[in-house]
Symmetry: C2
Subunit: 160 residues, 2 copies
């Protein structure tokens, strides 16, 4: 169903659509897509067989990657909306980088279950947004995360 919802990553300019986590042009990546569901943001992902910690359970690095890209995508959705735009409106959305990533792992995350990240976005500075995320495997809350997302500096591609 969520494939039919326009995601913010669908509108990233091509130059910024290569992220292994959420870039639609990275053929090897996760292709994470983040969209509005009411006042919350959502990203879903079904872990692959290989993404295990021990057989049957998802490895933490994948959860971290989901929280990370869901965080920058959610911040982009929120600032885009504050600027009067929605995904699909034709305007290029603002692009964020991750300032910090935090994940509390609450329960082992079962494999072969659709993961859903649900985000709440809060502006803490015009260029800095906090995204609080809950990661569910089915109905089970498995992890809580927080990302501080920062508007991407225009010098990013030139920096080192």
């Amino acid at each position: 169903m969520e494939e039919n919802i326009r995601a913010i990553q669908d509108d990233y300019p091509d130059d910024f659509a290569w992220c292994y986590g959420c870039g639609r042009l990275n053929e090897h990546g996760y292709h994470l897509r983040t969209y509005w569901n009411g006042d919350q943001t959502e990203t879903v992902y079904e872990p692959k067989e290989k993404h295990i910690a021990i057989p049957g359970f998802v490895y933490g690095g994948l959860i971290g990657a989901i929280v990370d890209c869901h965080g920058t995508g959610s911040a982009s959705l929120a600032l885009h909306r504050r600027n009067g735009h929605e995904p699909g409106s034709g305007e290029a959305p603002p692009r964020f980088v991750t300032g910090s990533l935090h994940v509390d792992f609450l329960k082992p995350t079962p494999q072969k279950v659709l993961l859903k990240a649900k985000g709440t976005v809060e502006e803490i500075h015009p260029k800095k947004w906090k995204v609080s995320t809950e990661v569910y495997a089915g109905d089970v809350l498995c992890a809580k995360g927080e990302v501080i997302a920062v508007v991407m500096p225009t010098t990013f591609a030139q920096s080192k």
Copy 2:
């Protein structure tokens, strides 16, 4: 050179050697290996072409995954040493899970540069260890991380 140093993951029992981040038996994974360098722990990884955020820079999810597995591996090294053992001594090392993961991204992490995580391990409870990590790309400190690693409950594989 570090391939010649015995890593803690080399000694994980086969049942616990499937992690996408650090399992030697996961043919698709990163095969992260964590070993002592003096009183610090180290894990190195060379990002693949596909692991980009934007062309030329590593995506944050990979950094998070490295900090995560480096954290549990470092805790395992430290508790193993406290128990009187070193990698290669023939004893199965204790296995940890991640309680929490935190990463502060300090600089864009250039691609095609060997990443090195350097960890400092501190016992904060007999079953809970804190691993403070710095991630370098060459000589450049790109991220700082912290993992709270918890001795894996014996019920882990049965829990949900």
